[in-house]
């Protein structure tokens, strides 16, 4: 009888809603995050599509100006705080970090559950502005003062939501740091850790150290609105620029909370589908730390037009260029990992390749924005909107989808239809670029962002972009439909290791048992990507 519990995998072990929402199993918590996060993502996408519809033609197409402003604010808040910041760490980090380290859970499983609950409370608060109070905030997700202090919309609730969500992020970060330090399986040192774990390690430090700053800053907005303290509103003696500094001291590093975990995913996908060791393991691992560190000192590049001194602009610009270097190093190492590999082109690899392409566009447009002369022209235009969608959606979003296709067989023990997945990928790729590339052009032409209406000369790029949003939506639906169909109907048993992966999660059953491993995991001889001495895995 004692063996019975290990025969059940983590999905079967217990039944019922409560066995999920009060589970302390990191795998179940990962899935809780996945389901909630995808729901909010779809809400965010719907708002995005609505915005694109409104911008199809100049003039009013659909909604009033104020409604449009509330839509882009809510879209931004949802996408940033509910989707992209938690995304890869909360879903795949939770599910796979302990398994990849060869252990049975994170260090603090209850704290882990708490952080999901905090996330849900924060999400409900953010969405409650749709139903209660004076409507969702209309400030943009940046909540710039003094407008955010003056407007009559429900800024307070949105800001409190972001504050609460911050705690969820901090707790996850803390949990991962301790887990990585203390729970690695015997024989696994820091330099034998998979690169995904490295990426999460660097990310977690940013979450832990930077998030409190945004928490305090947002509380200052609330204090200003209720008590008129005079922090940011110049009419009562405050300084709006102070707000911008405080906001970006967090929000620039937050960009790396979004990007580093995606780098980790790509560093896993490439070796697996090339069946060879990663090129430059140390370069990739340490460049994550370098990015996390330098990323703290460049927030001023969001403020090049707010009246900063020439010296200030000089320093922030040059530091911004420095952070590009470790990022470039990563890209070169990834491409080199394909060299002389034995490449198996599967859906997850396609997402990884699209990631590299789109992330490069995001990075190069970032260089354009980091240079002073060009930023003066392009700051706060659609060029910026194009740039950050290339980074966050074309980069991190695509890495997220790649990870979803990569680990789908492991998480559910089923397999999706690869042909449909590839078709969905192609549609998504075309849709994405048709949607966002024209935004770069509109920005170069001089169209400001957060624009409900625009001059007729900006019509063409906007029209193309809106067409792109329809293609993208089609691709997304097909991709998700294919996965959901497989979840319910697939009869294919992928086995333990469908892709020939080498990290430890491929040594256990699909789906994994509650305790993660049914037999002791074996580390490859020379580091985590030693495909030359890949341990043989019996079913």
């Amino acid at each position: 009888m004692a063996t019975l519990s290990t025969d059940l995998n983590y999905l079967q072990a217990k039944k019922g809603l409560f066995s999920w929402i009060f589970s302390v199993d990191h795998k179940r918590i990962g899935l809780l995050y996945l389901y909630s996060l995808m729901t909010f993502f779809l809400v965010g996408v719907t708002l995005g599509i609505l915005m694109r519809l409104e911008l199809l033609n100049p003039g009013k197409d659909l909604v009033e100006a104020k409604t449009y402003n509330q839509i882009f604010t809510l879209h931004g808040v949802i996408m940033i705080f509910l989707f992209i910041i938690p995304s890869i760490p909360a879903v795949f980090g939770n599910f796979f970090l302990p398994i990849m380290l060869g252990t049975d859970d994170v260090s603090f499983p209850r704290l882990n559950l708490l952080s999901w609950w905090i996330y849900i409370i924060g999400a409900i608060m953010a969405l409650s502005t749709l139903l209660f109070g004076d409507g969702p905030a209309d400030t943009g997700w940046t909540f710039y003062a003094p407008y955010s202090v003056k407007t009559g919309t429900n800024v307070t609730m949105s800001v409190l939501a972001a504050f609460v969500l911050g705690f969820s992020s901090i707790l996850t970060g803390l949990n991962f740091i301790v887990t990585i330090h203390r729970l690695k399986t015997p024989g696994m040192t820091f330099l034998k850790m998979p690169l995904f774990a490295w990426a999460l390690y660097a990310t977690s430090w940013i979450q832990l150290l930077a998030t409190p700053i945004i928490g305090i800053t947002l509380m200052m907005i609330v204090a200003e609105r209720f008590f008129g303290v005079g922090l940011f509103d110049p009419s009562i003696g405050g300084d709006p620029i102070l707000y911008q500094h405080l906001f970006w001291i967090y929000s620039h590093p937050a960009v790396y909370i979004m990007a580093l975990p995606a780098f980790g995913i790509i560093s896993e996908l490439l070796p697996t589908f090339s069946q060879r060791t990663i090129f430059g393991y140390k370069a990739i691992a340490f460049s994550s730390l370098a990015i996390a560190f330098v990323g703290y000192f460049i927030w001023g590049h969001h403020m090049f037009t707010s009246g900063m001194s020439g010296t200030g602009r000089f320093i922030f610009s040059i530091l911004t260029f420095l952070v590009a270097i470790p990022t470039a190093i990563k890209v070169f190492n990834w491409v080199a990992t394909l060299y002389k590999g034995s490449i198996n082109v599967q859906t997850p690899l396609l997402y990884a390749l699209a990631f590299i392409f789109q992330f490069m566009i995001g990075g190069f447009t970032g260089l354009v924005l980091g240079a002073l002369a060009t930023d003066i022209h392009l700051h706060d235009t659609y060029f910026v909107v194009g740039h950050f969608h290339y980074v966050m959606f074309g980069g991190t979003g695509f890495a997220f989808f790649g990870a979803l296709h990569y680990w789908f067989p492991k998480m559910w023990g089923k397999m999706y239809n690869a042909t449909v997945a590839n078709i969905a990928f192609v549609i998504l790729f075309i849709g994405f670029n048709t949607l966002y590339f024209p935004m770069l052009i509109a920005g170069l032409m001089g169209m400001p962002r957060r624009y409900y209406d625009y001059l007729p000369e900006f019509h063409l790029p906007n029209m193309i972009s809106t067409f792109g949003s329809w293609i993208l939506a089609t691709g997304l639906l097909l991709m998700l439909g294919n996965l959901i169909y497989a979840y319910f109907n697939s009869k294919t048993k992928p086995g333990r290791n469908p892709w020939g992966g080498i990290t430890l999660e491929w040594q256990t059953q699909s789906p994994p048992p509650v305790q993660n491993f049914d037999r002791m995991p074996v580390l490859p001889k020379d580091g985590p990507y030693d495909f030359e001495h890949k341990p043989t895995i019996k079913e």
């Binding site: 003056k150 009559g152 060009t374």
Partner: protein, 303 residues
Amino acid sequence: MRTGASTFAEGVDLSLYIISGISIFFLVGITAVMIYFVFRYNKKRNPTASHIEGNNTIEVIWTVVPTMLVMVMFYYGWMGFKPMRNVPDNAMVIKAYGQMWKFSFEYPNGTITDTMVVPINQPVKLELISRDVLHSFFVPAFRIKEDLVPGKNNYMWFEANREGRYDVLCAEYCGQLHSYMLSSITVVPEVRYNEWLAVVSAKSDEHPGLAIMKKNACFTCHSQDGSKLIGPSFKGIYGKKEIVVTDGVEREITIDDAYISRSIKEPNADVVQGYMKGLMIPYGAVINDEQIADIVDYIKTLE
């Protein structure tokens, strides 16, 4: 991108071309290599992988080369930007005011206009003043942009070198009608500029109350014809009874001199039912009691 029309355009466009040139070269190059590898080392062609762990020489190369290239990019960006902060001594000074959702310009002789006309090849310095929230003065054709920050006096300057009419857009989100916060700069030869200035500066026989209201852009939010904008219309309001919300409580008032004066000085004290609080700024500091009397006098004429 539109052809530049100021002396900065050349420097900005040059850095744009250099950065995008290098970027496109690498984007295309890396993508091509990547796709080539995927075909060349496909598992059908290359069934066994070689396990290359890295190469220090090549790591050094692809650290040093990008470092040099980004420094080149930084340099051109800085050189294109530097002149934007050095205002020539002979610049003509114009004050540019921003408030929800209108720009206005004050010329050295005190004349106030909605759109700008400037002489060609004449440096112009703008003193940027916001009356309420953040705005940003953006002229795509001149490649310039700088924020109007309330409580802080930012500045910018330009020298237009091509005749024509150029759009001015507000580039920092400032609320409901942000996308309608537009103006223009018309660049003309010096003689035409002087003629224009003489015409706009001539004393008009406008009602003094109307002039003050135009100057303060009251009509962006309040109509004179009864239509509802952001705030209530001025048409026929004098002497009317109105429900207002004071500290969350509704009460009825009659619109008289005292009420109008209070609405100008403390607009958020009583808010007419159905309108949003917090959108109008207090004007006590810019409009004095004498001027308020003129405004009241003018509102009485709107029956």
